[in-house]
Amino acid sequence: MTLQELIDTCGLESVFVPDAQVPVTAAYTSDLLSDVMAHCPDESVLVTVQNHKNTVAVCTLVGAAAILVVHRREIPEDMLAAARREGVALLRTPDDQFAVSCKLGAALKK
């Protein structure tokens, strides 16, 4: 499934999407960057509350395609700038981690 398809299926807000056609095959839910570093699969969407520029850096390292910030938390300028630099997509949702993880799970199963 492409990132765009996932965005449409789950009703996600695109804050910054450099390439909507990248494949997404997995998701990972975490707020601990060390944990993301250790376990987050590539071609994935990272579901997190961490609206922080370091989250972008970690996603670049593990090859995650997008960061999905929950609770529609504000994206700080420096995080957006980092995402632009690294080519990582930034998405938002008003849902919490549990709800949106379930949605992603249902969409990616198809």
């Binding site: 601990l32 960057l33 961490q50 938390r73 700080p76």
Partner: protein, 323 residues
Amino acid sequence: MSEAPQTPDASDAKNEPEPAAVNEPLVLLELIQRLKVRDVMTAKLVTVSRKDTLREAQELMKQKKISGIPVEENGRFFGLVSVDDIIRALGGGYIDDACSRHMTTQLVVLEDDMPLSFALRYFDRYHYGRFPVLNRDRRLVGIICQRDINRALLVELANELNRLETSFGQTPGLDGAYSIYVLREYPICKYDFENAGKAANQIKKVLQEKQFPPKVIRRIAVAAYELEINLCVHSDGGVLSWQVSNGRAEIIARDAGPGIEDVEWACRDGTSTANEWIRSLGFGAGMGLVNVKRVSDEFEITSKKGSGTTVKCVINIDLPVAT
């Protein structure tokens, strides 16, 4: 020789705002209002008369281990001889002169039925080591020094604590729970993650035992927890105190540093100075103060870079409608 000593200007004192002690625990505020100067002062006086020599005064001071002696005759107060006066006399070679010639007469005195808070304010303002105490008839009835105050407060606090402990042991009905007075203080150390959150857990337990409404307990506990974690993560260590009285819960987090540069910024959602290490412990997402604000009816933060931060929040406890 100048005239009789000055009475403290009570009217002036009354016009002043209350002592800058709004942040003091309520129990202390109550005590310093309730206690009178006469409850605290030393009434067993060591005095000299006007014709006694400074050397005799010095001898008495040495014997009784005191630093000032009132000059008094039959209850009438004339002045005070202090250690400073003695030192000057020794230097000036007039130690054998009569006290009346060199005693300090420009004195501020207190009245015995003033509340202790007055005395505290005068110690603060005049930096004297002691104040003579006169009664309404202008007769000398005692002397008060800071040590007297410390001792009296300690004794009274111990009594108060006993009273609290006793009332704590009982299980009051719902009504009793709201009027009950609870005060606790917890020291919080920097980066002490082993204990961070313990105080809030205890607060919750106590409130549950007191059968407070669950919604109120949750709000108080959330505020306490966030403030406790804040002290642990951001301050050099501080004190978390909470008290419940008369339908109000008040939680105060006070630290001695390092202070917050931009308080408004710190209170915004998602802003934090926490490092990656703190983040890896599940804190520092910049939601703490926002959370405290959210659950509080009153929220107040004062801070200065380089000095301390005090956060105070109040949660009103509405009595549930009786069914």
